[in-house]
């Protein structure tokens, strides 16, 4: 489908991998691991014939491309490149940018069409000219979504990966003493409230197809149960409603099963249930508390929290409950390690570690236990890690600005960005597939 990207092969010789697809050799950026050399890219202000200024889509696109961590978004002023206001860049600007080493250039236009608008985006390589264009049509309310699609197309073109600009983050927001489920775009925009229960809702979990959200609800009786909300029809149904606590739901990567913890047997144990809420299977059997399961990307293993060793630690097991073994140890990673989240790329497990000051921070450990590092620092409480689909960002809640809000951070500890404001507090993020 996609053509070889010879220019970038040259540019990225050190970090490119070769993949054979349908007989043809293609060059990809290896976006899965480690630091890569970023592609220098120029994004011009869009030409706009509607009320939305052309700088707006350009700014959204630049932010998306920066967050992809694949592009070095150039400051055109610094290179002395000045495209004319409200027009597409001319041959002179394109050539100057190319000479300045900006290998890829993007521009676009916003045009009226009846009650709707059309957004066009052009991808250009300085060495070989126009790569191609995209055309989107919709209302003026969806310009951000058009730009997010364009950003993901650019990421897809150079990596073969889906990008994360179209992804959504579900979270819990406290309002008027109640905690309700909300959803927002991955960059914090377009916040939408889903529940109006005047109760306590916790721990949202996306189905991999983004169609459904499972979460914990206290709205019926005394026991928290796991409910499922269909995000298109609004239909809501209980999935797990045993006597006792029913908490920490997590969909399997296939979307066929939901792992969770219930205390119906007297103490908290991990179970899984099929997506119809019918067939239950018990995975752990221990007098201590087992909870908070997270699936490996293959669906063959689970990491979870257990205090069977006296303090809460992260353990691993096979998806059928066998082969249980510890991943974190009290004498190595400290006395309190919980809330594991397995990266969609499989290389890291993020979890909440508690330091000697009894402050909650985020840590990363490789599933083989060989690599470990603390991801967040400072004196705020950080918890509820949730991975972006590209495995390069972690969303989490933090008290770092005096109140609990949702932030995202790159896996190397850079790029901290606050995503929420409003309400009394915002927490428990869950990041959707692209």
């Amino acid at each position: 489908m996609r053509r070889p990207v010879s220019l970038l092969a040259l540019l990225l010789a050190g970090s490119a991998v070769f993949a054979v697809t349908t007989g043809a050799v293609e060059v990809f950026i290896d976006a899965t691991r480690g630091a890569i050399q970023k592609i220098p890219i120029a994004v011009y202000s869009f030409k706009s014939a509607i009320s939305v200024p052309g700088q707006f889509p350009a700014d959204v696109l630049k932010a998306d491309l920066r967050r992809s961590l694949l592009f070095d978004v150039a400051d055109l002023e610094r290179f002395g490149i000045r495209a004319e206001v409200n027009s597409q860049p001319g041959p002179e600007a394109l050539q100057k940018a190319g000479e300045a080493g900006l290998a890829v250039q993007v521009w676009g236009a916003l045009l009226p069409r009846g009650s709707e608008i059309v957004m066009e985006g052009t991808l250009f390589e300085s060495s070989r000219g126009e790569v191609g264009r995209k055309r989107y049509v919709g209302s003026t309310d969806v310009v951000r979504y058009m730009v997010h699609r364009l950003a993901d197309e650019i990421v897809f073109h150079y990596t073969g990966e889906q990008g994360i600009a179209r992804s959504q983050i579900a979270f819990v927001s406290e309002r008027d003493g109640a905690k309700e489920i909300f959803v927002m775009d991955y960059d914090g925009y377009n916040r939408r409230r889903l529940t109006f229960d005047a109760s306590l809702n916790l721990a949202p979990a996306w189905s991999p197809d983004r169609r459904r959200l499972a979460f914990v609800s206290y709205r019926k009786g005394n026991d928290p149960r796991i409910e499922e909300l269909d995000l298109i029809t609004g239909a809501r149904r209980p999935l797990v409603a045993f006597p006792g606590l029913n908490i920490t739901p997590e969909w399997s990567p296939s979307g066929e099963e939901l792992a969770f913890a219930t205390s119906k047997d007297g103490n908290s144990e991990i179970y899984k249930v099929d997506k119809y809420g019918k067939r239950f299977e018990r995975l752990t059997d221990h007098g201590a508390a087992d909870l908070a399961p997270t699936w490996s990307p293959t669906g063959r293993e689970l990491a979870f929290t257990s205090d069977r060793g006296g303090t809460p630690q992260i353990y691993l097991m096979s998806a059928d409950g066998t082969n249980v073994r510890p991943l974190t140890y009290r004498d190595q990673q400290g006395s309190y390690n919980t809330a594991a989240a397995w990266s969609p790329k499989g290389d890291w497990i993020a979890y909440v570690c508690r330091d000697e000051r009894r402050i909650l921070k985020l840590c990363l450990i490789s599933p083989d236990g060989q690599q470990w590092r603390q991801l967040t620092t400072g004196s705020s409480n950080d918890e509820s890690p949730a991975w972006s689909a590209d495995g390069r960002h972690v969303a989490f809640s933090s008290t770092r600005n005096g109140r609990r809000d949702i932030y995202m951070i790159n896996t190397d500890g850079t790029g901290l960005e606050r995503l929420t404001t409003g309400g009394t507090s915002n927490e428990d993020p869950a990041w959707s597939a692209p």
């Binding site: 191609g132 264009r133 309310d141 699609r149 959803v183 109760s199 908490i247 402050i359």
Partner: protein, 200 residues
Amino acid sequence: MRSITAWSGCSALVLGLIFALSACSTKETSSRTTEQTIDQTEKGTAPPLQGFSKTPSEEAVKPPPPTVTAKADQAEIAMRQAREALKRALGNVYFEFDRWALSTEGKKNLAESAAALKQNPAVKILIEGHCDERGTTEYNLVLGEKRAQETRRYLLSLGISNSVGVTSYGKERPVCTEHDESCYWKNRRAHLAVEEGKGK
């Protein structure tokens, strides 16, 4: 390809979507635009990326789901709020950091509560376990339940005949929100609440 998409559009009928209806009735003449809208509706995800083209076709862009809200039951909310108010009216037992064992003082408080409960044997009570904020949401739910269960065990050992349930709110329902020990201890508690509706 086209027929498959049209079919999946029709299966959306099962979901009772009105615009899926109109999409199906016009499937022969529907533009590429409409097909993609249905696709997005069906799966909950946006239509797949299609790559760049020198002659790009138009792609319709809609806001992603959710575009709905969960239904709320006003009567249910009113009942729950009344019940919660009642619950907040009973006594507490406090715990040490990270622990769920009862203290001597806690046992003394429970003995007083047990005496009162023996006077009202038909009253059903619910023990809520709570924690301070220095643990994670998930683990605190379990820790709170352990505190509630420990409290229940002790109450029953004192010979009460009331029905006693347990639940846990972890750190989700703190009584105070300062970030120091003067507040933390108040939140590490098991709270005894009277359940609405008397008798067993």
